[in-house]
């Protein structure tokens, strides 16, 4: 007999179709290809419509700040003529404290328009606060499923703070122990309540981030006279990279390079009860960043709107200790006390700025709120309690889950390039595996895979030939 988990997962398609109010089948073209742009446009909202929805919800129009002190710090140890100007989009200024408000606002608007009584999301991140806050404003009921504790009922202060803020906004929070069955329980709750699925990965959510990309281009043209040379995005499930890049392009900035950045958590298992509390970042890390980039359709929707390989020019990784260092530096040098996860891209930006000429510009496209629990001090104190050694030294020597090495000098902050060719190969392999054994890709499939990996047909054919 099928287990309870298998039984509900078998009904995923039917439950999500009702809970999203859209049928993904109409976009399917083959076992590999689907009409991505058709799916993204199906909700019918223009960028202007979304801006209007977000303004009504207290979302968007966040300040773009030039970080002159941080830039001069980088210039103090760069080669002569180097040290790009660093800017940040202060997304912590949104209603519930992060860019996730943009993502939630469109989903909540759609849920309200379509007459759903409530919304449900499975998230241990800032998205829970965003959904809870927007749902409160829309008078919708809200359930947030969170992976919060290990089997001893010990929770990371960062996640516990996120439980608190969801409850502060009146949401019902189901706190759970470690495991991917979080998603099967979310399906059970969607089935039982008839609520809307405020998925992170629907076209509603990802479209909501496009305003961020468009705004930062507009803001940079206003402040510097041109679009930024680089935009750096903290990368986890891929929505932030995808939505921001789409917005940057829609604002006409064709030459702006998109760089994704994650905290390196290699070696830690995301479904492990014992590794769970030995990592100090619950999002923006490689444990989500790599699997979601190389197989986006692992998400809770039939086709993921977040397809980061389409847009990513480079993928940089940084260590936990480097991000904590930069979080403290931002606070002391720029008067910006913000949460560590959102500073992942800032850390990569400091490394990248050093290698670029002084007249180049970099926009770090988010910050997140901070506070008790969700703070770099709290995270480091908790790591130490969990047996992780916190040291000063060369961050390149850190081992995720065992040591966190705080740099002694800013020169030690060096992001590493993740191998993009390897990610593209991995994506194509996954797409073929999911198409079924013996399926032969058509010319249209090759075109789709080329678009989905930001490469060309010849490159995809070579990957397939080499598999």
């Amino acid at each position: 007999m099928a287990s309870r988990t298998e039984a509900i997962m078998a009904r995923k398609g039917e439950i999500m179709k009702r809970a999203l109010g859209m049928d993904y089948a109409e976009f399917e073209q083959s076992p590999i290809a689907f009409d991505y742009e058709g799916m993204m446009a199906a909700h019918g909202y223009s960028l202007e419509d979304i801006t209007r929805i977000q303004r009504a919800g207290g979302v968007g129009d966040t300040p773009l700040l030039e970080l002159r002190n941080l830039t001069d710090l980088v210039r103090s140890y760069s080669e002569p003529g180097h040290g790009a100007r660093i800017f940040v989009k202060d997304e912590a200024a949104n209603m519930a404290g992060s860019f996730k408000d943009r993502r939630a606002s469109v989903s909540i608007h759609v849920a309200k328009e379509k007459g759903y009584a409530g919304v449900i999301a499975a998230t241990s991140g800032n998205y829970g606060a965003a959904v809870s806050s927007q749902a409160a404003r829309a008078s919708l009921k809200c359930i947030i499923c969170q992976e919060a504790f290990d089997s001893r009922h010990v929770g990371q202060p960062e996640i516990i703070e996120k439980s608190r803020i969801c409850e502060a906004f009146g949401a019902e929070v189901v706190q759970m122990t470690v495991g991917p069955e979080l998603f099967s329980h979310m399906l059970e709750l969607l089935d039982a309540t008839g609520y809307f699925a405020a998925s992170l990965y629907s076209s509603f959510g990802v479209s909501g981030i496009e305003t961020l990309g468009a705004e930062l281009v507009r803001d940079m043209i206003g402040q510097t006279g041109k679009a930024p040379d680089y935009v750096i995005v903290t990368h986890a499930g891929g929505g932030n990279t995808t939505g921001t890049a789409r917005g940057v392009r829609r604002a006409g900035a064709a030459d702006t390079r998109i760089v994704s950045a994650s905290v390196d958590l290699s070696g830690l298992h995301m479904a492990s009860d014992t590794d769970f509390n030995r990592k100090s970042f619950t999002t923006g890390h490689t444990g989500f960043g790599v699997p979601f980039a190389t197989w986006p359709d692992r998400a809770d929707v039939p086709r993921n709107a977040a397809r980061s390989l389409r847009y990513m020019d480079r993928y940089l990784t940084v260590s936990q200790g480097e991000v904590f260092y930069v979080t403290e530096a931002m606070s002391k040098l720029e008067g910006l006390e913000r949460g560590p996860s959102g500073n992942t891209a800032m850390t990569a930006a400091m490394s990248l700025a050093r290698d670029l000429p002084r007249d180049a510009t970099i926009v770090v496209q988010e910050t997140e709120y901070t506070g008790a629990g969700k703070h770099h001090w709290a995270q480091l104190n908790f790591a130490r309690e969990m047996g992780v050694e916190v040291l000063s030294g060369d961050p390149a020597t850190s081992v995720p889950g065992k040591t966190i090495v705080i740099p002694e000098r800013p020169e030690q902050i060096r992001a590493k390039d993740f191998d993009m060719a390897k990610m593209r190969r991995s994506y194509v392999r996954n797409a073929l595996a999911h198409a079924g054994e013996g399926y032969v890709p058509t010319a249209e499939d090759i075109e789709f895979l080329a678009a989905d990996t930001n490469s060309d047909a010849a490159a995809v054919e070579k990957i397939i030939a080499d598999l």
């Binding site: 287990s3 089997s151 759970m176 470690v178 009860d273 904590f324 001090w377």
Partner: protein
Amino acid sequence: MASADRCGADDWVEVSYTLLEPADRATNLPEETASKPLIAWVKGFALSGAAMGDDLTVRTPTGREVTGVLTDILPGYTHTFGQPPAQLVHIGRDLRERVDAYRKGGE
């Protein structure tokens, strides 16, 4: 009325319940996860009085009735900032000095 170990009807409480026993959990989990039950905690208003550890049904903020074991009465939060980590305390001083020195250096 609530006391340290007993809640009354309509008190704000937390209950805990088992969602999945180890045998019913997803496949491909690491052993340390697969061997544990999947547990959930939810808060709501008690539908009756109960002692800590008793079975109790609550009405959650969305109006669902959920039954579990009473684990907390007026559940709160105690997460904080804690002491400044020794590895971070010099960063502000050192970096401000470096920026000042760089600017005085004629840039």
